[in-house]
Symmetry: C2
Subunit: 254 residues, 2 copies
């Protein structure tokens, strides 16, 4: 018997616009992609389409940069209007050096540019912000999938973050519903009966990373189904990706 997972791209979704209900669109996209969604699946949705559906896009032409944003932008070589948006979406600047602006977002994520970017957003100067509450977005999408397709898969909202110390970016979960986001093995024994000291599997982030392998940054496959992760799928929505945030007082790098 094979033990494992399957990762399938959901293709053929239309360009998402403000007000679109993602649940029906993803359900029909899955069907067209030959994926019959089940309760044990994990549906990983790109933050970008969630933001678009929720109207979380901004035209830079309408942004008036503050003096602080202008100063910061000058030092970083960034567009002052973009920096204004980044600051308005942040509670704290973690690093502003060279051309890098790393902040703590209102949602509690530490990432570059508050997760704001322009790729795969139509319109010359339009950028997408993170959803206001990505866990709520995931819960809403899960409820929509239950309503239109009578399934309760786990739902993840994934975004692409850089990492200190390592080059390249990986996808991580910024929103979740119906998933055991952290699988805590501490205290359980290994195969030799020795206690595992510090292994808590970041399941949600590993699912997001796995799903990214089925994407293509250019055509922006907006949804991916991971099958075989049913041991982490829960019937209740649970605490969501908020659980992944390390408390500031426990963090050695901010």
């Amino acid at each position: 018997m094979r033990l494992g997972l399957e990762i399938v791209a959901v293709t053929g979704l239309p360009e998402i616009r403000e007000g679109d209900d993602l649940g029906p669109l993803i359900a029909s996209g899955a069907e067209a992609s030959d994926v019959q969604l089940t309760d044990g699946d994990a549906v990983v949705v790109a933050q970008k389409i969630v933001s678009k559906a929720e109207g979380r896009t901004r035209d830079l032409a309408g942004v008036e940069p503050s003096e602080r944003a202008s100063e910061l932008a000058h030092g970083l070589g960034k567009d002052p209007r973009l920096v204004e948006l980044i600051l308005s979406e942040s509670v704290r600047v973690v690093r502003a050096e060279r051309d890098v602006l790393i902040v703590e977002t209102r949602q509690g994520w530490i990432c570059a540019n508050a997760g704001i970017d322009a790729s795969n957003v139509p319109g010359g100067e339009t950028v997408a912000l993170l959803p206001v509450d990505p866990d709520a977005s995931a819960r809403r999408l899960r409820a929509e999938l239950a309503a239109v397709a009578d399934v309760s898969p786990a739902v993840l909202v994934a975004d692409t973050f850089g990492r200190p110390w390592r080059l390249g970016q990986t996808d991580v979960a910024i929103g979740c519903a119906g998933l055991e986001v952290l699988d805590d093995w501490r205290g359980r024994g290994d195969q030799h009966g020795r206690t595992l000291k510090a292994t808590t599997v970041a399941v949600a982030d590993e699912l997001a990373a796995a799903a990214d392998l089925a994407r293509n940054k250019a055509d922006g496959v907006p949804a991916v189904v991971v099958r075989g992760a049913e041991r982490w799928v829960t019937s209740d929505d649970g605490p969501g990706a908020a659980l992944i945030r390390r408390a500031a007082e426990d963090d050695l790098f901010r």
Copy 2:
């Protein structure tokens, strides 16, 4: 047509001992797990079995802690002999606070405890160190697979690292052969013709994370095959996971 990947656990490997050739063991394990290895596959191997095969285990009973190790261990609440090993495997201490010791290893990785741990290692006080050169380990394993099974899949050596800012650990690649470890989309256009500014997919790390989902920390599935990633598999061994290391002068968090 379905677009996607498949992740399959290779089970049934024996307990690995120093001097074991992993290639033949993984090839026969794959066969027994109903996986016919192909050139387009990525074989993700747990660091632990590579270290065991290479004799990179140490019995703490034989370690004499230095004064510096003893002092550091006292402050951190750790075993001085373990701290001695950690320091001997490191070029620099990045953080030593509370019970956390984060170092830069001789291999150039920044991680807790220099990647040394005791889980899934038999023997009451035996711990496993990282392979001396995990990229060389991956190349060797790839050559062994070519010799015994006439295939040249990508080979990755994966370890479990924590992250700043996010709770839980994910698997990352510390060694690679035959893989495009970073897939650089910078300069290429998105679906709206807008240039992608800063997206370099950390393919090796995402493959390692994906493979971890097919594991189980207790029984320690030591090898996982990821199928469907052939677009990143290369015929030459390439620069390996060393490419992922961010240069100290480009890093804002060390």
